[in-house]
Amino acid sequence: MDVLYTLLTVLVVLPLLGVVVNTFFIRQGRTAGLIASGVMVAAFVVTLVILVQLLGLAPEKRVVDFTLYNWIEAGPLRVPFGFLLDPLSMVMLLLITGVGTLIHIYSIGYMAHDARPVRYFVYLNLFVTAMLILVLANNYLVLFLGWEGVGLCSFLLISASFERKVSQDASLKAFIMNRIGDFGLMLAILAIYKHFGTLNFGAVFPRAAQVLGGQAINFAGGPIGLATAICFLMFIGVAGKSAQIPLFVWLPDAMAGPTPASALIHAATMVTSGIYLIARNHAIFALSPATSNFVATIGALTAFVAASAAIGQYDIKKVLAYSTVSQLGFMVAAAGLGAYTAAMFHLLTHGIFKALLFLAAGAVIHGAHDVQDMRRMGGFKRAMPRTYWTYVFGALALSGIFPFAGFWSKDDIVGAAFHNYPQTGSHPIIGVILIASAGLTAFYMARQIALVFHGSQRDTTYHPHESEPIMTLPLVILAIGALIGGLINLPTFVPGVGEGLGRFFEPVFVGSDAVPFSPLLAVLTLVIALGMGYLGWQTYAHRTWKAKFRDPISRFIPAFEAFETAFGSDEYVQFFIRGFRATAGFLSRIFDPLGIDGLVNGAARLVGLSGREVGRGESGYLRNYTMVFLVGAVAVIGYFGFAALR
């Protein structure tokens, strides 16, 4: 046990060490990259040792909960700075340090020509620190520390090229929309403290049913279940961080940041924290079937809406960004359904293949001299073969094609939608929406590969080239992961290796939440994905366009423009911004100076202190001061006199 305490502490301190060293001592980009990657490699090794240690314990003993020191101790409020390691946080550690290491190494090549590479690596290491704290927290407030910490790093990385207005807008948007989500999460945390008297996971979850069961609070005139209220508030946080309807708008804009940062933060790890949060709080979500259904519905809708939006994008990264929103929708839907293992399974496989796609897209952009518009690309297959093949692997995994990782994990989620749960029943509509979204996924990925790599180059003003090995090697490793990642949780019919992840999670989710594998469903989704993929391929792969063409399907689908703007989702944000500006403007320009201050100055004038007199300076002051003092003195003497007479 003590060994694990030390290992976990070392794990969190390692990336922090990178932050400190690079901030204060390193001025050279490549050195900073090497140091940042070095601490990540060390962190990954430590994670593997932690895994071995954890597996060495009996399954029911795989919970390590300890306090480093007392962070906030204010009267009855006691918040330790403490860590919790269990199978759930373990898999997150593997994802963060594993994929994180590859992305750090890749970044050395990618950021070689950047203006401020040292800052970039500082932010990247700081992000990993915060993310580790988020998943290792043993109480809500430490989780919140990591939660907002990753948000800060996201802000810093999006604004990495802060000279550009796009980056400025996107970074502020990301931070503020996340804060709106955090508002909900914080309120949920406050409610948990009020009712449990503690914030420690180990003390809250076992008593959840007892404390929250049957409790209701009054809200807007009607009673509402306490568990429902808490879950709903928490879900606001999830919607912010994991980019769900209606708070997803920041994520596509966040693509203004460097591509490897998008891979790490806006695809593989940070944006999945919301799913982790629900999985961590499954004991509370289980008490509120109403919220669970709501969460599943929002997830499915997000999956579909974002998948449609991905079809309408011309920017190579925007496609992937909407795709991420869509895939997060799948995970949220699974978590809402109660299929936590399926959600986490997809979180892990997606973390691998979406990181791969982003990094490969980064290699494309890097090789195409910062061109991001797919209409200006085409035929890159010949110029960058390694990038091409790894991209194809990522796309197949994302589209859910057998036997790639995404096939297995997506199938688990679709299966869960049709599964008949004792509390909430079966959700065929959600299932259909998810299958349709999976079909759209195959379509937009086929479209992207066709536009980027096939045909002929439409804008020939630049020469695309393959990236250096330090960038392509991580791609190859991730491509292998995208191929075989499904192995960690194959269905039970494969003897010996089936449900590996599910069995690992059993102590956390108290028993298996596995959904029986349905071959029919698997074949159906696969056929749909293949069909849609073929359709996408046929539409885009065999044509020659000019560099500024209009998407051919815009002729068939009148709603194509809606896809492009993600159904005008940015408009509603603008609506709120206008409202905020108008209110703030009215208060600061009219209400405050003329209303409140007007009253004050008016009152002053009433007692004979005109503005002119005041303006006369010190002589004016002396008179006024004397007068006020006299008034006070008279009042005092008057009181004494009055008291004496009584």
């Binding site: 906030i72 407030l141 520390l145």
Partner: protein, 509 residues
């Protein structure tokens, strides 16, 4: 009083420094002498840290008390004392003053002697407010703080300094007149209830009023509560009594702004804790919801009005209205968590907002403007400055891991748990945290992000003096943020006695 008068030493040492200003010294020497004097005060005040054994953090009541007859015929005594509630505010004062004086090394060049003398006199005034345990003595110090600040703004201020300083003076002075009345009533009534002799001993009055209400009716006690409240609410300042603050801040010299925001606003919040709560528990409970509403309005209103400001200093000034709203909310949650958070947040606000005024001052000295649109691209030309500014901004917007969060979150826990305030107050208060991110990051974006313009292209980064001023603040901002327990623990017994279970504020609920 048998032991060494440590509190008196801390209290009067700055005045000794101010007297040295009478000597014919050069401007530079005057600054150094003032700095040394204020540093001496700080070093002596370090003895109060519980580890030294002079201040016992297990005791709830007053410690290191001193008592001397002063005007016996009116029952006015020189009584000093310190407890867990005032300890960190005293430390905040002694910590901020030398940093502020250091900031004047480059920014003040006219009438230096007078300036430094006023700064030191101001320190004594503020320390006196925190240390005085006699109602009348408290009032004297309370009013005395106005005088140096009046001149600091009026002589070294900006264009509209006279308007601003007179407004500041009259507004706060008007509030205090009500308090003076209440103080005299208490002294007289208490005297009559004992031996007929007027007595302003705060502890004795508190004790008597808690046992039998001094025979005053509930209505009278509520009126007295209001009289104290008027003085303190203006000082904090609470919405809608805040309009003196933006004017005073915009016109004040940087050092004046730092002290004004850093310490003087806390005098009001401290007054709530020292007078309103213990003297009038029933009235405090009665008025708590109404005050909570004003506090929440202040949080949201201050944040909204801060956002469109073109003058960076005004933006920071309105942010104070918002942040002090949290402090008041925590106090009138009447829960231990709320009060803990409120006291820590007073210290935090002193550090972060003090630092914010300093960083605004630094660029003002370089370009002689505070127009937010005149800047841009500082992240490029002043990387160290921008990095430290970002830290300070993040502290101010309550990022976990920095000091602001430790205070605000604790306040929010207390508000949520409070039987009087509860979740609606917590929910509306929390929206202020979203808004803080909006206006502070907006400022950061306008000033630090973007490309340099002809105004900012040649700006140089922080010099050594400026770094020396900011680093201690940053250390505390991070230190308290990551480890708030030691600060909280020393307050615990005093707060427990004030609002814990079994206290007068809770017992009759």
């Amino acid at each position: 009083m048998t032991s060494f008068p440590l509190l008196s030493l801390i209290l009067w040492l700055p005045v000794v420094g101010a007297l040295l200003m009478l000597l014919p010294l050069s401007a530079r020497t005057v600054k150094v002498v003032a700095l040394v004097a204020s540093l001496a005060v700080f070093v002596v005040s370090l003895l109060l840290i519980p580890g030294f054994g002079l201040f016992n953090s297990r005791i709830a009541g007053l410690q290191l008390t001193e008592n001397m007859a002063w005007i016996p015929s009116f029952g006015i005594n020189y009584r000093l004392g310190i407890d867990g509630i005032s300890l960190w505010l005293v430390m905040l004062t002694t910590f901020l003053t030398p940093l502020t004086i250091l900031s004047t090394f480059e920014s003040i060049s006219t009438r230096v002697r007078a300036f430094e003398a006023f700064m030191l006199m101001l320190e004594t005034g503020m320390l006196g407010v925190f240390l005085a345990q006699d109602l009348f003595l408290f009032y004297i110090f309370w009013e005395f703080t106005l005088v140096p600040m009046y001149f600091l703004i009026g002589i070294w201020g900006g264009q509209r300094r006279i308007y601003a300083t007179v407004k500041f003076f009259l507004y706060t002075f008007t509030g205090s007149v009500f308090m003076l009345l209440a103080i005299i009533v208490l002294g007289v009534v208490y005297g009559r209830s004992t031996n007929g002799q007027v007595n302003f001993d705060l502890q004795a009055v508190t004790k008597a009023i808690q046992t039998n209400g001094l025979g005053l009716s509930q209505t009278t006690l509520r009126w007295l509560f209001v009289a104290f409240f008027a003085a303190f609410a203006i000082k904090v300042p609470m919405w809608p009594f805040h309009s003196w603050l933006p004017d005073a801040h915009t016109e004040a010299p940087t050092a004046g702004s730092v002290i004004l925001a850093g310490v003087m606003l806390k005098l009001g919040a401290y007054g709530f804790l020292r007078f309103n709560l213990p003297l009038f528990p029933e009235a405090a409970r009665f008025f708590a919801p109404a005050i909570g509403v004003l506090a929440v309005i202040g949080i949201i209103y201050g944040a909204l009005v801060a956002f469109p400001q073109k003058d960076i200093k005004k933006l920071v000034a309105y942010s104070s209205v918002s942040h002090m709203g949290f402090v008041v909310l925590g106090i009138f949650a009447l829960t231990p968590e709320g009060v803990h958070g409120a006291i820590l947040q007073m210290v935090n606000h002193g550090l972060s907002t003090g630092a914010l005024f300093l960083i605004v001052g630094f660029i003002y000295e370089r370009r002689h403007t505070r127009d937010i649109d005149a800047f841009g691209g500082l992240w490029k030309v002043m990387p160290v400055y921008s990095f430290l500014s970002l830290l300070i901004i993040l502290s101010s917007l309550g990022l976990p891991g920095l000091n602001g969060f430790a205070g605000e979150a604790t306040i929010m826990f207390g508000t949520m748990k409070s039987a009087i305030l509860g979740w609606p107050f917590a929910a509306f208060g929390l929206t202020g945290v979203i808004l803080a991110a909006v206006y502070l990051l907006w400022m950061f974006r306008k000033v630090m992000m973007g490309d340099v313009n002809q105004n900012t292209a040649a700006m140089r980064d922080l010099n050594r003096t400026e770094l020396a001023i900011l680093i201690p603040l940053i250390v505390l901002i991070i230190g308290i943020g990551l480890y708030a327990s030691p600060v909280f623990r020393t307050m615990d017994p005093s707060i427990e006695a004030l609002v814990g279970p079994g206290s007068k504020l809770v017992a009759t609920r």
